[in-house]
């Protein structure tokens, strides 16, 4: 028996099936958490955003009309909650980057576990990861969110357009612009073509 689709689970959840909604949460919570981590740049806040996303989604299940995929619906709620969280702490945020950026830790834990053997390479990779995070953080909310949705979370332009409520062309331009600015940012810090190869 094939696994139920997201729409099936939503239908069942609307009917009061808690297990169906739990299945939806299990299916999408990692993606939502990753999106939230890259958006809010804080593990604890990302966890809160993830939980709140599904709670809000459950509250609005009756309003889901089925015209889009449920996960894009979750993404939209997560993006809105993340942006609200960022704005809420924007006034109290310091200009210095967080020391324990979960993105950098994830980068070294999952992608470059071997760099720890080479201290020089580890330092360089950490600098690159830091520069990339800083470059992404320097982008505007719209560019950063679009870049994260498309280039990190792997959403298609159509899906990202659905999440962001904008035309696909706008998504394409935002991705292009974000990548251009990120490349320039990295190049200004010595991570150009030559060093980019290391990335």
């Amino acid at each position: 028996m094939p696994p139920p689709t997201d729409r099936d689970l939503v239908q069942r959840a609307v009917g009061g099936d808690q297990e169906a909604f739990a299945a939806l949460v299990r299916r999408h919570q990692k993606r939502i958490f990753r999106l939230a981590v890259h958006l809010v740049r804080n593990g604890a806040e990302a966890e809160d955003v993830t939980q709140e996303t599904f709670v809000r989604a459950y509250q609005a299940l009756a309003r889901f009309d089925g015209r889009s995929e449920p996960f894009t619906w979750f993404y939209r709620i997560a993006v809105n909650l993340s942006l609200n969280s960022i704005r809420a702490r924007k006034s109290s945020r310091t200009s210095s980057p967080p020391v324990d950026d979960p993105r950098i830790e994830a980068f070294f834990t999952e992608i470059r576990p071997s760099v720890g053997a080479n201290p020089d390479g580890a330092a360089e990779s950490r600098q690159l990861a830091r520069a990339m995070c800083d470059g992404i953080d320097a982008l505007s909310d719209s560019l950063r969110t679009t870049l994260i949705l498309v280039c990190i979370d792997g959403l298609g332009h159509e899906e990202a357009a659905t999440v962001l409520g904008c035309p696909e062309g706008t998504v394409a331009w935002r991705v292009h612009e974000a990548r251009r600015k990120l490349r320039e940012y990295l190049a200004d810090r010595g991570f150009g073509d030559s060093s980019g190869g290391d990335a």
Partner: protein, 464 residues
């Protein structure tokens, strides 16, 4: 795609989520279930709407910047793959709501100002106050028809290299020219709707006067054509009738050139067109003033006054009678037929005065032929062409008179200022053989157009 771009994309794509143990994920699921069980009420609608972004980075790329075409992440669909875009849980916005929002938006400061102010002083939740329904159809970051920098089908040659090298991607051009190739549809909304709306609003009223002026110009051109045609007809009539007094025609024709200058003064046109009728009716040939009746001339000029173009063009609100009193008078004087006993010098002076006054007053570059028997149009002497045609028309009859003679005869014709033959003198063989009467009779009917000199003589030879 350059190597660094690809590597950057790969790095971004493979950026993982922070690893967490499965217990943590299950604990999160449990926490969510607990919250869901406790949760009540409705979700606020803003969370279901597209995220509101400020327009700080939505200015679009510069023209030379390469457009991103090549990078689509895994699972990306082409922009033209799915023709119908799912709308998601969005509300439909009524036209009234859209109009209200548009009105409110146009009253806001420009994007740059609002953005500068909004980013520094606006509270974090201020953007939520925007009606969600409006954001549904017009998301803040992309509202109007064309995003400023979205890849367009009309920009096929743009590349997306690492830098802006200006190289035209011929493959992209070829792909774009291929009708079977999937085209990138132009986006339906844009980023700076305020700017576009203002630009459209600024352009809309500018186009209307342009259309109005062009139609006025057409009307003016048409009226000018009618006036010129009428003037040509009057000239032809004068040429045929010769002695017929042109005063009536002059009065009738004077307003015609007045029409073209009224192209920019629409209200003046009906007045200028209507006035001549009454003036012509009053200025019958019997009532026409003569040169020695200045008061009557002035009165006639005042009657014609409103049709004079100069005041209508220069001062639309000016009193019509005052500025036109002199010019029409001069026109009427010049148009009056020369009395039989009038001195030629006086007539010439009067005509020159009239022409000078008219030109100075009307400031019109209108051609003199269009004004019919304008004083300036009467030549000082008959043209050679007119003389040759007049003589040639009767040369056959004259040659018949001397066909039996062997020697030539000399004829001297004298035309009066009215263009008719005043006197004929015949010398030579015809005079000695009694054929001079026949020759005189032949040329007695010759005539040229009126001229300003008192007389003009021409001699020629009649050969058998």
């Amino acid at each position: 795609m350059s190597g660094s771009t690809r590597r950057l994309d790969e790095m971004l794509r493979d950026w993982p989520a922070p690893s967490r143990p499965d217990e943590a994920w299950e604990a999160q699921v449990a926490a969510i279930e607990a919250k869901v069980a406790r949760a009540g009420g409705e979700i606020e609608g803003a969370l279901l709407e597209p995220p509101p972004f400020a327009a700080e980075d939505e200015a679009g790329p510069t023209k030379n910047e390469p457009m991103m075409r090549e990078t689509k992440k895994r699972g990306d669909a082409s922009m033209s793959d799915v023709p119908e875009k799912p709308k998601g849980p969005e509300k439909r916005v009524s036209l009234a709501e859209m109009a209200q929002q548009l009105k409110a938006r146009t009253s806001q400061p420009p994007v740059s100002e609002r953005d500068e102010a909004g980013r520094t002083s606006a509270p974090p939740g201020s953007r939520v106050s925007v009606p969600p329904s409006a954001r549904t159809s017009m998301p803040p970051a992309a509202r109007t028809s064309v995003p400023p920098s979205a890849p367009r089908a009309s920009d096929p040659g743009r590349t997306s290299g690492t830098g802006d090298s200006g190289i035209v991607d011929l493959k992209a051009v070829a792909a774009a020219s291929d009708p079977n190739a999937p085209q990138i549809p132009p986006a339906s909304t844009s980023l700076f709707d305020e700017d576009h709306a203002k630009a459209a609003a600024a352009q809309a009223p500018a186009k209307k006067p342009a259309a109005k002026s062009s139609s006025g110009a057409l009307v003016g051109i048409g009226l000018a054509a009618v006036g010129i045609a009428a003037a040509i007809a009057v000239v032809v009539m004068n040429g045929n009738k010769g002695q017929e007094p042109p005063a009536v025609a002059a009065v009738a024709e004077a307003p015609k050139p007045a029409a073209p200058p009224t192209t920019t003064q629409a209200p003046a046109a009906p007045t200028a067109a209507a006035a001549p009728t009454a003036s012509v009716a009053a200025a019958s040939p019997d009532d026409l003033p003569s040169a020695d009746q200045p008061k009557a001339v002035a009165a006639a000029g005042a009657a014609v006054g409103p049709a004079v173009p100069a005041p209508a063009k220069a001062e639309p609100n000016a009193k019509p009678a005052e500025p036109t009193a002199t010019a029409p008078a001069a026109t009427a004087v010049a148009a009056a037929p020369p009395p039989a006993g009038t001195n030629a010098g006086d007539l010439k002076n009067a005509m020159q005065k009239a022409a000078g006054a008219t030109e100075a007053k009307t400031d019109q570059p209108a051609p003199t032929p269009a004004s019919g028997p304008d004083p300036g149009s009467i030549p000082e002497q008959p043209s050679q062409g007119a003389i040759q045609s007049a003589i040639g028309a009767h040369m056959g009859a004259a040659k018949a008179c001397v066909k039996d003679l062997e020697a030539v005869s000399h004829v001297n014709l004298t035309f009066g200022s009215d263009g008719k033959v005043k006197s004929i003198s015949v010398t030579g063989a015809a005079a000695s053989n009694g054929a001079d009467g026949c020759i005189k009779a032949a040329f007695a009917k010759a005539g040229v157009g009126p001229f300003s000199r008192s007389s003009y003589s021409v001699g020629f030879t009649v050969r058998p």
